[in-house]
């Protein structure tokens, strides 16, 4: 359990910081909650997708005549049924999307760019009829050479995925197309002088494999296209407004004609910040005139939805003998998958975000490859570059015979330091997280033979952005909180808690709901660790408007000035000494009189939240390596993180524990494996092995609270920072257990066994 168990006794807060049961909890433990695939409509058809079996192929022709003749088949769509969009960037949740690429990823046009790329879709009365039709759709391909390895894709003689793609970010526009979509650079100081001032220089090359978010719920939706052009979509996503916008763009529809209702979402981790099925289901519904349900299989999820990049990285560090880092040169090469847009930009910006270094140069390459288009995955890009940098820092600590935490403290960013990515840090809690692990008993616990202890740190920006929230007071004095952000990890309870705190209601009296796109104002999707911060800010402001309204109404009832009314413990109190006999008016009492005091009591706030505080995490990992098998056991794990203020500490701990578990999977087991034809060989949970309960120990979170003054309760984003350190924390622990630096993830038993044998 966490060090922060309960709200301090002297806290003026009654709800924030406690651990109430989530309002949607009973539905989740009884099986009543409706996830994407649980929704049905009368007369609904089954939609399925025909996918390319080739990693790279020209689509010569698609013949659907025989498929259309199958009894029960009602619609078949191909790229010809979608508008051929112009290239246009759209600013989404955490990153921009190119709408043309988004459309082409939903349905291949002219070329299939990866094994699993959709080439046609069918709707039929039964799954069997849809399957039969898929078999009968005849696609003629001209198979092309493919490339998946990021460095091979960068070479001048690699097969080119997009004839129109010319590298951006170069001084002169190149003459020939390339798979390098973009080169970006971040630099400060004088790198040569920095290395000249160094007593030691460490160089390393690191690689990570493409890994999938691995949410347990496959993508699913139901779409209904009415004859008057009004569309309805029910789907599992990280943002109903995102689904609305993307469907409108991909299909050439008016967004106002599309209403999207969010289903409960069975995990996303960034992977549900885009669309795959919804536009196809709408197109099939438009053609057939019936609602269409589409649900991916697990194989489809792996083959055709976003993993995050595999990468190759080079890190060179220079430092003085006493551990001051004088220079850092970092090169990052990230796979983007079939279309530009790897998270190398964020990987670059976060790479040195924990370090105060005078001279550095970071170069990032965004490289298209014949693999599924990457999607956001929890702190997109950051765990990858952190793996390289944190491994290099650990090597530096070993070389300098310095304690790895002391080395990090010596070079730590603090308030007032200009971050490597630009802004000046304010109110950050990085040093506090380092101190938290340094002073934790875990760091001093004895280590046995074949065991090692690794330390690593991580950073994530966290974002704010556009959010809307409404608060409605019911006639019995309870309240409803309405937001537009799907609740992936328990954010609904935090929304209710913040409203309850302001209103002075017990948490049980506040019901939070996540509304459809027609029932609440716009909100950016749930991502970037923004919901508790930004939407929480909107909720708090809406609740404060309610309180202001209630005070006004009470003042009217008492015939006093509004300033003479205080809101305390869920009731209006009269401060006017002339009205000493005025009894407090509770929320319930005021709600009962609302018709006579101005009508229904509601408030809605829309805002663009600024001032999201960045998140810093510092982790300790103990491993034991079995020299016989090369298997790594995680013995103990402690994770400290500055969260600003934990609104619901149990769900903050859950975010930390879950992020750590995903990072451990990334470090030890998970990877996309392709055969020589570029087909994914392990598209299932048997062969793509995510951590199971017996792989992990308890994961001890330490909640560090350095309040964010820009949030009404001090909150910072939580969900992403915890996945940043584990890759290197595990690798650093393995280094210290076996005495050899492992630089290629995952650290699978055969690799470790080979290193032990060669030792």
């Amino acid at each position: 359990m966490s060090d922060v168990l309960e709200r301090p006794a002297d806290s003026p807060l009654k709800v924030v910081g406690t651990r109430p049961i989530r309002p949607d909890g009973v539905d989740k433990v009884t099986g009543a909650a409706t996830f994407g695939a649980d929704f049905s409509m009368p007369g609904m058809l089954v939609g399925k997708i025909k996918r390319s079996p080739h990693a790279h192929a020209r689509i010569v022709s698609i013949e659907t005549k025989r498929a259309r003749a199958v009894a029960g088949v009602k619609a078949i769509v191909t790229a010809a049924d979608f508008p051929d969009l112009a290239s246009e960037e759209y600013e989404g949740g955490e990153s921009a999307s190119n709408l043309r690429d988004l459309s082409l990823n939903c349905m291949a046009r002219g070329k299939a760019l990866y094994d699993g790329h959709a080439v046609a879709a069918v709707a039929a009365t039964t799954a069997a009829a849809a399957d039969e039709a898929l078999e009968l759709i005849e696609v003629t391909y001209e198979v092309l050479p493919h490339v998946i390895d990021v460095e091979e894709a960068m070479s001048h003689d690699a097969p080119v995925l997009h004839a129109h793609l010319f590298t951006e970010g170069l001084e002169t526009r190149p003459e020939t197309p390339s798979n390098i979509a973009q080169k970006n650079e971040l630099a400060r100081g004088d790198l040569a002088a920095g290395f000249a001032a160094a007593d030691v220089v460490m160089e390393g090359r690191y690689t990570t494999a493409a890994v999938h978010q691995g949410y347990i719920e496959p993508h699913a939706c139901v779409a209904a296209f009415a004859p008057d052009g009004q569309c309805q979509v029910w789907s599992s996503s990280q943002g109903q407004f995102m689904v609305r916008t993307y469907c409108a763009k991909v299909l050439g529809l008016e967004a106002s004609n599309i209403r999207v209702t969010p289903a409960e979402i069975g995990g996303g981790f960034g992977g549900k910040t885009t669309v795959y099925l919804e536009p196809l289901a709408l197109a099939l519904s438009r053609q057939s005139g019936a609602p269409v349900k589409m649900v991916m299989s697990r194989e489809e999820v792996f083959r055709a939805t976003g993993p995050t990049s595999g990468a190759v990285m080079e890190v060179t560090l220079g430092a003085t003998a006493d551990g001051r880092i004088t220079a850092a040169d970092v090169v990052l090469k990230y796979q983007a998958g079939a279309f530009p847009g790897s998270p190398v930009g964020a990987g670059s910006m976060t790479a040195l975000a924990c370090y105060d270094i005078e001279n550095f140069h970071i170069t990032g390459y965004d490289v298209v490859t014949n693999s599924p288009k990457v999607a956001a995955y929890r702190a997109p890009g950051a765990p990858i570059s952190a793996f390289a940098v944190e491994s290099a820092i650990d090597e530096l600590a070993l070389k300098l015979c310095m304690d790895p935490i002391a080395l990090r403290e010596k070079n730590a960013v603090r308030d007032g330091v200009k971050a490597a990515y630009g802004p000046t840090y304010r109110n950050i809690g990085y040093v506090e997280t380092l101190e938290a692990i340094r002073d934790h008993p875990h760091y001093r616990a004895p280590i046995g033979p074949n065991q090692g202890r690794g330390v690593a740190v991580g950073f994530w920006f966290n974002i704010g952005g556009e959010s809307t929230a409404a608060v409605h007071v019911n006639e019995d004095g309870s309240a409803v909180v309405v937001t537009g952000n799907p609740d992936i990890g328990g954010s609904r309870v935090s929304m209710a808690m913040m409203a309850a705190e302001v209103l002075g209601l017990p948490i049980e009296k506040v019901r939070p709901i996540v509304a459809d796109t027609a029932s609440i104002g716009f909100s950016m999707l749930t991502g970037g660790s923004r919901t508790t911060f930004a939407t929480g800010m909107a909720v708090t402001q809406a609740a404060r408007k309610i309180v202001a309204d209630l005070k006004q109404r009470a003042a009217g009832i008492w015939s006093v000035a509004a300033e003479a009314v205080e809101w305390k413990d869920g009731a209006a109190h009269c401060l006017d000494p002339a009205k000493a006999d005025a009894q407090p008016l509770s929320l319930a009492a005021l709600a009962a009189r609302s018709a006579r005091t101005g009508g229904p009591i509601t408030a809605e706030v829309s805002l663009t939240a600024q001032g999201a505080g960045p998140g810093f995490a510092a982790h300790i990992c103990d491993v034991e390596v079995d020299p016989e098998t090369g298997h790594v056991t995680i013995l103990r794990y402690t994770a400290a993180q500055d969260v600003g203020r934990a609104i619901h500490p149990a769900y903050v701990e859950g975010q930390i524990q879950g992020g750590v578990a995903q990072g451990i999977g990334w470090a030890l087991n998970e990877e996309y494996v392709f055969d020589r034809l570029g087909r994914m060989e392990n598209a299932g949970f048997l062969d793509y092995r995510v951590p199971v309960a017996s792989d992990l120990p308890m994961i001890e979170p330490i909640i560090v609270e350095v309040a964010n003054p820009r949030h009404p309760f001090g909150a910072k984003g939580v969900g992403e920072a915890p996945i940043v350190p584990p890759l290197a924390a595990v690798a650093n622990a393995v280094r210290r257990a076996i005495g050899v630096r492992m630089t290629d993830l995952p650290l699978s038993p055969p690799k470790i066994r080979a290193v032990i044998d060669a030792r």
Binding site: E217, I265, A693
Partner: protein, 160 residues
């Protein structure tokens, strides 16, 4: 394609449905009986989100043909609570915040129920190995394991 008539007991009630030849028990529960609490995460028996108990034995309902359910007693997540009274496991999952997205939760609860029926006093290691067939991607399992062990302790108290 001829559909087969199947009679079984689900959560104590007799049910009948028509099964396609290739339909799994999970398909029948979800599509024929509208019991959508059991989830399909993989369809290959690797994730455990479809876990149900058939004649006292924990299984992945995606790996059993619906036609094989003939005459069997099936327990699903929808039958876990006693009316409006939650099972101790359900309550402990809420108390410990042992779920985030909640998608794996029905399967994990069924697996945990089978564990406590087989072993009322599981160690942490036994709990972890028993639940190793149920994937959770959100929680890191920490709070799940605590909730199961806490429920086991409470159920032992009640038994005494």
């Amino acid at each position: 394609m001829i559909r087969r008539h199947v009679s079984a007991t689900v959560n104590g009630d007799p049910v009948e449905f028509l099964s396609h030849p290739g339909a799994t028990l999970l398909d029948a529960l979800r599509d024929e009986l509208s019991l959508t609490g059991s989830k399909e995460g993989c369809g290959s028996g690797d994730c455990g989100a479809c876990s149900v108990i058939v004649d006292g034995r924990l299984i992945c309902s995606c790996l059993m043909l619906a036609a094989e359910a003939e005459g069997r007693r099936i327990q699903t997540i929808e039958g876990m609570a006693d009316g409006s009274a939650l099972h101790p496991l359900q309550q402990k999952f809420l108390d410990h915040a042992a779920l985030q997205c909640g998608f794996c939760t029905p399967g994990i609860l069924m697996a945990a129920k089978a564990l406590l029926e087989a072993n009322p006093e599981p160690t942490e290691t036994e709990t972890r190995y028993w639940l190793a067939g149920n994937l959770c991607r959100c929680t890191g399992y920490d709070k799940i394991v605590r909730a199961v062990m806490d429920a086991a302790a409470e159920m032992r108290q009640v038994r005494v």
